[in-house]
Symmetry: C2
């Protein structure tokens, strides 16, 4: 083998590669998200990671296109998916006649963005999405289900304190419209977003500087200063007396969403209205969502999304409105794991490690089979090494029990079961061992 | 939107894209495989789909290299993984000091091969692998665990009739060695593989034609003609009286594997020795496995693998022997689904679809929340369409129950629960509905 030219076993920067113990936690959290999504009746989809560039980049441009992993294979111009929304649009347009609507799907899978690598930013990462796609119309009640999904998902993940922030883009659009400032919308949003940092007066000055007139500024400031409970805010919005139809529609939709969320059991502590959320001006057209972990607000929104008018206009003339959210899971996991705040129900894959004391392994194998057929995940250590090394194996993979089997055990039918957390050791028969491990 | 230049929503040939009902079955089978693998204590790993070409192709060449999706991004020469073994080798070499051995991992994930697309062959497909990697040594008993894993996995997938075929490469190598025909091994294997088709005499002729002498041919034919039960075959191998050490070792290992498999409870009906299995000459060095579904033998081996001497020699000087298997799941699913022989425990994601009869949805939402918090996957149909269309939705996604909620139901507290399979409809209170749906 001396002729082998060894290569350094490197992993690409920006690509997460976990150790098995973290992977166990990672998978458990993904499973939990999947169960939460399925609890609301969302169907699974698994689209290819590679698509024709023409299809994937039909709408894209700017940053997205620059970050895309794009390449040729044979005559084909191919790209790796950078989100799950574009593949969903393609899927719904392609299989339109084979689906029934509203079409509710979830997807949990990897997407690719060739961003500049930095701590906590990944080039390959899991996105966990749910979307509800309607045919021509989609009832606003669907928008109220989304916060219920977010609530369930994060509760099931073990989080106690988080806030779902809701807004409706029509409210912002309606105000800017009524003030004849639709074109300045981006600039106004950018300025008012700073009000907590720079204060009311400086916001007024900056708005003046971009040419907004006094009356408009008064309305904008009144709007931005709206505070209080969810119901206070809805009332204040009505008190603005803006007659613009889009605005009125936005306020009505927001009220409906709040009302239905409450019926769906989302507790008051877990949501709020945040009138400044816009989430990009192009895509979302109605309800928008952001979610913050109250204790880790600095990591930004952990689950965002909203209502869009038309999912698949680049592929079909069918009008397909929708509403959905996405969790960027890889980054979230990285940050939470760094802070050591992930609660895993189960730390190990194996419930027990069998350690044979000698080379007579027949009964060890039989016992392993018995445990496994009783639903107990069972590992066995066959290698001929010192006991200390065998115990280290159980420790390393967090295996909660070790079952030691030697000559004495074989003769008596009583086997030493060691609890690795407490150090407690008991001699038990197989039935008792099964019961003990299953708790 | 008239300016939109619409693109045909195409999917790449050779890339599987399932409808949601099939995806439900697909995911269920993958979950079942995962549970089986975890039952034996294998740890999960999830390595990147993209790697440095230098790393991924350290060993490759020929067909593999030609089929690889390889491309540049910035200054990096990148490739998509074409199996899980090379990334495992990289992983173990890279994280060697952070692991304990034997290192047992499973992986269920997509791999990429730019093969010529043809029916049932995919360019993107799931491989489900387990491997046990030792440090310097790895006990032969691990080789016996593999058939137990295969047995458990395919039983849990719902298969009743399948055969795990076992062999040991040392037996073949030892025979060829003892006959001084190591260099002709590939040719001899190719010829003897045809014995069932062309008969003993023609095999003899062909062996003569490639220059094998008479004595050697006699031994080869005696070897190939070995028949009978597993124990008969082991006996016949001993009766060949070949003194070659490698041969003897192979027979001993095969005997040990059979003995331990039996202790692990693999029933006699489910395994056999097939002395002709070689599985490529380069890679495997000891025990080899193939698995056939008895009723669908023509689809070939559905789970194969074996023992290898050194996993990661291209990345490290550590000696890492291992044993493992792989299921090419995408192709298997495609073939079984085509034949309509997949048994899914659960056809639908949702256990029940709530259908509101009017626009008073508050109680529907409350009931949905109650059902969901009781662990029942619950979908609601909010859109204002004809009843027939709502029922079609439930039908399409195989939802077993429909719960109809209107004014009468609200007043009485008794809701109509319709069993979609039997057509039976009952008026029940919420508690009874929960019990009924949970069975």
């Amino acid at each position: 083998m001396s002729e082998i030219n060894r290569i350094e076993p490197r992993t690409l920067p920006g690509f997460m590669e976990l150790n098995p113990n973290d992977q166990v936690k990672f998978n458990q959290m993904l499973d939990s998200i999947r169960n939460s999504y399925e609890c609301f009746g969302f169907l699974p989809l698994d689209t290819p990671i590679i698509e024709f560039s023409e299809v994937l980049l039909a709408k894209a441009g700017g940053e997205t296109e620059k970050q895309t992993y794009r390449f040729s294979k044979g005559d084909s111009d191919l790209s790796l998916r950078f989100d799950h929304t574009v593949p969903l649009a393609k899927y719904v347009a392609k299989y339109y006649n084979e689906l029934v609507f509203p079409f509710k799907r979830y997807v949990i899978g990897k997407v690719y963005r060739g961003e500049r690598p930095q701590k906590g930013r990944y080039r390959e990462f899991y996105q966990c999405d749910v979307d509800i796609i309607g045919e021509n119309e989609l009832s606003i009640i669907n928008d109220a289900q989304i916060p219920s999904i977010i609530y369930t998902t994060f509760k099931n993940l073990g989080f106690d304190k988080f806030t779902i922030c809701i807004n409706n883009r029509k409210i912002l659009n309606g105000i800017f419209n009524s003030l004849n400032q639709s074109e300045a919308a981006t600039d106004i949003l950018r300025i008012i977003d700073k009000i907590e940092k720079i204060g009311e007066e400086k916001v007024e000055t900056e708005l003046e500087m971009i040419g907004i007139d006094e009356d408009a500024i008064t309305t904008i400031i009144r709007f931005v200063m709206i505070e209080g409970s969810v119901d206070d805010k809805l009332l204040s919005l009505n008190n603005l007396e803006i007659t613009d139809e889009i605005f009125q529609q936005g306020v009505q939709e927001l009220s409906d969403v709040v009302k239905c969320m409450r019926s769906l059991g989302v507790p008051e502590d877990y949501f709020t209205i945040d009138l400044k959320i816009a989430r990009g001006l192009d895509y979302y057209t109605g309800t928008v969502y952001e979610t913050f972990l109250d204790d880790y607000r600095k990591i930004g929104s952990v689950c965002s999304g909203g209502r869009f008018d038309n999912l698949a206009e680049y592929y079909t003339d069918k009008k397909l409105p929708g509403v959905g959210i996405s969790i960027g899971f890889t980054r979230l996991f990285y940050l939470l794991n760094q802070m050591d705040v992930i609660k895993a129900d189960k730390e190990a894959i194996s419930d027990v490690l069998i350690i044979p004391m000698d080379s007579e392994v027949d009964d060890c194998l039989q016992i392993a089979n018995t445990l496994r057929t009783n639903g107990i995940n069972t590992d066995i250590y066959f290698e001929d090494v010192k006991m200390k090394k065998k115990m280290r194996y159980a420790d390393k993979w967090c295996i909660p029990y070790v079952l030691i089997i030697g000559e004495t055990e074989r003769e008596t039918g009583l086997y030493s079961l060691k609890n690795m957390k407490t150090g407690e050791q008991e001699a038990l028969n197989i039935d008792d061992i099964i019961n003990k491990i299953k708790q």
